[in-house]
């Protein structure tokens, strides 16, 4: 029975994974991601791909909201910047799709940094409104800048190909999405072991104290906006090439709200929480729908109430989660682990 985790070397103290169990879990997780597409049908591949994109987007948002404490409702707009930049670069300028993705990320980072400027003066609810304005401004530009974006019409992006193979089938793009999702997880997990990540957390916890300690608020807040937008732009760019059509209707303000819901339910200020939330919010309506379909034979006339019952159930589940565990799914997961680690002699 272990009584704690003890390190005898600095190297062990700095390790990302500290116990054998953690290492085993990582191996299992990687194996699962590698094996999954060979067993899944197209529907589950579509879900996995949507989850992968949501994971990247949610981690990006969590960098800003969960770690740095700057609440943002501009997520949908920033995703639109990523998607349209990637789409336009490929469709209009003939940049290969794999080249357009990093460029789209950088463009979104610049736009995100720009819209992050008000954060120096604004906090809390005021910042929410400022970022909501960013969302509306970006969508307005996207739908009205006819010469570049094609206005409200859908932007058709050529099929991404690699060595002559069409990449955007559910199976092939799975590797692109989850490869980049893996990279995103790796980068962000490590980011919070650096001085930048710690500076962000300091700003979140108490910005005045952080400034007194010598952290340049303006610089680090903008950096947080830009880094967050970089990943959000990545999610947008992946949508553009995966679906090879970009419509503004995919990036409306309810997308911003949905992503906020993901990180709040998953757990603010945690990479794992963002992943939990992305998976949960994507799968919940699917499960509710399936459950409803299964009940079809049991309850008469369920067809007429089913969609509304699903909506209500979605809301209730979210409220229950927040009431029972405000710190999100990540905290529930920690408690489950603690329970088994200390079982049967918990204190």
């Amino acid at each position: 029975m272990e009584s704690g985790i003890f390190h005898t070397t600095y190297r062990a103290d700095m390790a990302l994974r500290q116990t054998p169990a953690e290492k085993v879990r990582v191996v299992l997780a990687v194996l699962l991601v590698l094996c999954f597409p060979f067993f899944a049908d197209r529907f589950y591949l579509t879900l996995a791909n949507q989850i992968g994109i949501a994971v990247i987007g949610a981690i990006g948002l969590n960098l800003l909201v969960g770690y740095t404490g700057q609440i943002s409702l501009g997520q949908g707009g920033f995703m639109a910047v990523g998607a349209y930049t990637a789409g336009l670069l490929t469709a209009q300028l003939g940049v290969p799709w794999y080249g357009s993705i990093p460029l789209a990320c950088l463009a979104t980072a610049v736009v995100g940094g720009f819209f992050g400027i008000p954060s120096l003066r604004l906090k809390g609810l005021y910042l929410v409104i400022a970022t909501l304005a960013a969302q509306e401004i970006i969508l307005w530009i996207v739908t009205h800048w006819d010469a570049v974006t094609g206005g409200v019409d859908a932007l058709v992006v050529p099929d991404p190909t690699l060595f002559g193979i069409q990449m955007n089938t559910d199976f092939r793009f799975y590797w692109v999405i989850w490869g980049l999702a893996g990279l995103t997880i790796l980068v962000t997990v490590n980011l919070f072991r650096t001085h930048i990540g710690r500076a962000w957390i300091a700003i979140r916890d108490q910005d005045i104290a952080a400034e007194v300690m010598g952290i340049g608020l303006f610089r680090y807040k903008l950096l947080a906006f830009a880094t967050s937008s970089f990943f959000v732009g990545l999610a947008g760019a992946l949508i553009a090439h995966y679906r090879n059509i970009v419509t503004w209707e995919r990036f409306t303000v309810d997308v911003s709200v949905t992503y906020l819901a993901m990180i709040i339910i998953g757990g603010l200020g945690s990479v794992a929480g963002a992943i939990f939330g992305a998976v949960f919010i994507t799968l919940l309506p699917v499960f509710l729908n399936d459950a409803g379909q299964a009940l079809r034979g049991v309850i008469p006339n369920i067809d007429t109430i089913l969609p509304f019952a699903e909506q209500a159930a979605f809301g209730i589940v979210i409220i229950l989660f927040l009431v029972l565990e405000p710190r999100g799914l990540r905290r529930i997961w920690d408690r489950i682990k603690d329970y088994f680690r200390l079982w049967p002699f918990s204190y």
Partner: protein, 406 residues
């Protein structure tokens, strides 16, 4: 310590949730496929809870009831039809999920709904070779290279606008006025709303009609400014490409300012319905409607089976309205295509249904629309329709069929 552990758990979270997915997969999924003698499966996306649910719900009921009605009559050659449907709440992501789910379950044809999801699914539809009809009548979907599996049952938005302008020119002359009228198109600020602008503008220009178009801001609670701009332009006829609620606001504002005296309002498909009459009440009196589908207030033979079916369910066609008729007959056209594919003796698949639909020549909808014709080079079902007017709180027919291109 805790914070370190959190970081480490990240990959394992994926594991847990994917296991859940895998478990669910083995538990919930049955071995579905489009088996030879089983039911013929048609997929459908409904908006029952989203922003367009007011018209989406009756349309969905029409799609569903036609299948039930057809099954009650014995299906196709003894094979039943099955409609696999889901509510997607006008969210593109959900539409993609439901689409692949139903494709996986072996559907051979698909009924969609909005412009956003139909556009987003266009490439997939092409790759899967699934005939797809939706309630979006955008001319983008007539591009045979980009959208070779999309079929338009309703008159396209462009044709609706052109027919309305054509009618306006005649109406202007008939009321003894000089020259040509000025036409304004007020539209929803979306691909759906903008769809008819280019063609309407070109047609107006070719006929010497002054034309302008204005977006109606989403969620506006008053549209006085937009009406002011139409007034400044000197618009005599105002075409409206929008859904019921904003149009109700527009019509009430127009009435309040007395603009209904000088301007003639013409609703295109998605606001010309019974719902608008409910929402805007008296303000709709005298309103014109360019309606591709005949509303229940003008009885035609094509309404009888629907009415009988609804009576059995304890409802009436008047209660369900024109969008129910629209859903029912859209499904009727799709099922007629499937029937032809079955009769042709080819293996039943999306491809054979498409080929069967392309042989459809003057398919009779019994007065609900002009006959529907598809060919391998064009999926534009028809190009003509009638105009209706609200008289005594009911839509009444006021014109004969007008063609977009004479």
């Amino acid at each position: 310590m805790i914070s370190i552990r959190i970081k480490v758990t990240a990959p394992f979270c994926i594991f847990v949730f994917f296991s859940a997915v895998l478990l669910a997969m083995s538990g919930c999924r049955k071995g579905d496929s489009g088996s030879a003698d089983g039911a013929i499966k048609i997929g459908a996306l409904f908006d029952l809870t989203g922003p367009t649910s007011d018209v989406g719900a009756p349309y969905a009921a029409g799609l569903r009831d036609f299948v039930d009605w057809r099954n009650a009559k014995g299906g196709i050659n003894g094979r039943k039809l099955a409609l696999l449907s889901g509510d997607y709440g006008y969210k593109v992501d959900r539409a993609e999920q439901l689409y692949t789910q139903h494709i996986q379950q072996g559907v051979i044809a698909f009924q969609g709904w909005g412009t956003g999801d139909t556009e987003a699914l266009r490439a997939k539809i092409r790759a899967d070779k699934i005939p797809f009809m939706s309630a979006s009548y955008s001319t983008n979907l007539l591009d045979m290279k980009e959208a070779p599996y999309n079929f338009l049952v309703g008159t396209s938005y462009s044709d609706q606008a052109i027919i309305a302008i054509r009618w306006a020119i005649d109406h202007w002359k008939a009321s003894g006025k000089e020259g040509t009228p000025k036409v304004a198109l007020l539209h929803h600020d979306s691909p759906f709303g903008q769809s008819p602008i280019a063609d309407a503008k070109a047609f107006a220009g070719a006929n010497g009609v002054a034309f302008t178009s204005l977006p109606m801001p989403r969620g506006a609670t008053e549209l006085v400014a937009e009406l002011g701009r139409v007034k400044q332009f000197g618009g005599n006829y105002v075409l409206i490409q929008n859904v019921s609620s904003p149009v109700a606001v527009l019509l009430k504002d127009a009435r309040r300012q007395g603009l209904h005296q000088s301007m003639t309002f013409i609703c295109l498909n998605w606001c010309a319905g019974e719902l608008l009459l409910e929402l805007a009440g008296d303000a709709t009196e005298g309103l014109f409607g360019a309606m591709p589908f005949t509303p229940p207030s003008v009885p035609v033979p094509g309404h009888q089976e629907l009415a009988k079916w609804l009576e059995k369910q304890g409802s009436t066609l008047t209660e369900k309205g024109v969008h129910y008729v629209q859903g029912w007959w859209t499904q009727a056209v799709m099922v007629a295509g499937i029937e032809r594919a079955v009769e042709s003796g080819k293996t039943l698949s999306g491809e054979s249904v498409r080929q069967a639909l392309e042989t459809m020549n003057n398919f009779d909808t019994q007065g609900v629309t002009t006959p529907i014709t598809f060919s391998p080079t064009s999926h534009r079902g028809n190009d003509s329709m009638r105009l209706f007017q609200v008289k005594g709180g009911k839509w009444q027919q006021i014109s004969d069929y007008i063609k977009a291109e004479p």
